[in-house]
């Protein structure tokens, strides 16, 4: 294990502050966007792929049945809307709401990547590697490669 001199303090470390600042900005951007995109959707400013008046007919079904039903009745794609395929529907009021949700879910990956250089610089290799591993795991989860079916 590397030898490090750590100055104990009641103040947060540089990495912790950097992480907090990025998290805060990502959270604010995500939340503000969520209000805007939901208003575009719910007030009918943007057309919805699944009409707002009909969504309640589908949300009591298991997710696979729901995806099949909305595909058959509205989308008519040759595959279901899973993974990142919602990107193709970004012009629709309901699916544009996935942008802020993805930002809120993805900001942690950026936070982790941002603190890695500082950790390596201070010789804190164990934490730098753990931060990289966490970023890789979250990226894998975000990639859609792990989505499995019923």
């Amino acid at each position: 294990m590397e030898k490090l001199t750590v100055r104990m303090s009641s103040k947060a470390t540089e990495e912790q502050l950097l992480y907090a600042n990025i998290l805060e900005k990502g959270m604010l951007v995500g939340l503000i966007l969520m209000f805007i995109t939901f208003a575009l959707y719910v007030f009918g400013i943007m057309p919805a792929a699944i009409p707002v008046s009909e969504i309640s007919s589908y949300w009591n079904q298991p997710v696979h049945d729901y995806l099949v039903a909305i595909n058959e009745n509205f989308l008519h794609w040759d595959h279901l809307v899973t993974g990142w395929s919602w990107i193709k529907l970004i012009g629709m009021g309901d699916f544009i709401n996935f942008i802020p949700i993805a930002i809120l879910s993805g900001v942690t990956i950026i936070c982790y990547l941002a603190i890695v250089p500082g950790l390596f610089k201070r010789g804190d290799k164990a934490y730098a590697i753990m931060a990289l591993a966490e970023a890789a795991i979250l990226t894998l989860a975000a990639s859609g490669l792990l989505a499995v079916g019923h």
Binding site: M8, S10, A12, L31, S56, W59, N60, L146, V148, G149
Partner: protein, 325 residues
């Protein structure tokens, strides 16, 4: 005596959880046995359910703050038990509810040095990995099995809330070798006594191992895991209570992120459910913080335990196909 009985009950529960989740029989089971969802009332206008959701989550946000629990642990059993939404969407939304709360609180807690990044990073690595596994298993299992396990878990949480003690500043005689090597320690300023408190942790390998189960359950049921994080960080690992609570809240922003991606990629996110829920919980939390100054914490805590007990029984009976109430 009580401790022994609880340990045995815990052992039985973990065995049942493993047996139910790992048995291939369940993976082949059809959805035919799934408890019927609450029927959609076609007489209601399309905006009625989101509006009801907004109102209910508003009160849920108040109760969550006053009761000292996360939004997710109230959201999933109550909404899945009493609303027409399928459990798949409720779990996806529950994770986003817990995630948003953690994202809102996390930056401030980190800046104040109440949440410890050094404590969170190794714990989060394990918990978030297992949350992904839990989410994948939870989405592959028949709904009634997940509902039964959810009910049992919620009732287990009630027992934990009922029995778990807290230690403001646990007596950690010596940091263990792993936490020493990782330098999981720190100083925080205790405003009430105006002094700096040195802290370190012990039993780190055992604590990290426990987060395998916690992460799995968070992902499987879409629950925030503050109910489990705090006792493990505080009582098992010996972190001061304030550090445990703050680090637990921050941890949810990582653990729930990983599981949320699985639910999002699987299609378990409906904006018409997610956004009213998030707005309701957030507004309720703002109001809850203000009420907190005048509320009686003991009464609120008992109320949360009662609500969770009720929701747990509802989830359990719904999974078993018993229409109890």
């Amino acid at each position: 005596m009580t401790k022994s009985v609880l340990q045995k009950l815990g052992g039985i529960y973990v065995f049942l959880l493993c047996a139910l989740t790992l048995s291939p029989v369940w993976a082949l089971a059809s959805e035919a046995g799934t408890a019927a969802p609450v029927p959609v009332d076609s007489d209601l206008a399309w905006w009625a359910w989101p509006l009801i959701l907004l109102i209910v989550t508003f009160f849920m946000g108040i109760v969550a703050v006053l009761g000292g629990v996360g939004g997710g642990v109230l959201y999933v059993p109550i909404i899945s038990g009493f609303f027409p939404f399928h459990l798949d969407f409720v779990r996806g939304t529950g994770l986003l509810v817990a995630l948003s709360g953690a994202l809102a609180a996390g930056p401030g807690l980190l800046k104040m040095n109440m949440a410890s990044l050094r404590l969170a990073i190794p714990v989060a690595l394990i918990a978030s990995t297992m949350a992904i596994v839990g989410a994948m298993v939870g989405l592959a299992l028949p709904t009634n099995i997940v509902q039964i396990l959810l009910g049992a878990t919620i009732l287990g949480i009630v027992v934990i809330m009922f029995t778990a003690k807290k230690s403001a500043i646990p007596d950690v005689k010596q940091a263990d070798p792993l936490s020493s090597a990782l330098r999981i320690c720190g100083i925080y300023h205790e405003a009430s006594s105006n002094e700096d408190i040195n802290w370190c942790v012990h039993r780190t390998p055992l604590g990290l191992a426990t987060f395998i189960i916690i992460g799995f359950m968070a992902g499987m049921f879409g629950l925030g895991a503050g109910w489990a994080n705090v006792p493990v960080l505080n009582l098992m690992m010996g972190a001061p209570l304030k550090i445990s609570v703050a680090t637990s809240k921050f941890l949810l922003s990582i653990t729930d992120t990983s599981a949320a991606w699985i639910y999002l990629n699987k299609g378990c996110v409906i904006p018409m459910m997610v956004v009213p829920s998030l707005i309701g919980i957030m507004l309720g939390s703002f109001v809850g913080v203000r009420i907190l100054k005048v509320a009686k914490p003991a009464f609120i805590r008992w109320m949360v335990i009662a609500i969770l007990g009720f929701a747990g029984i509802k989830a359990l009976t719904k999974g078993l196909g018993i229409d109890l109430f």
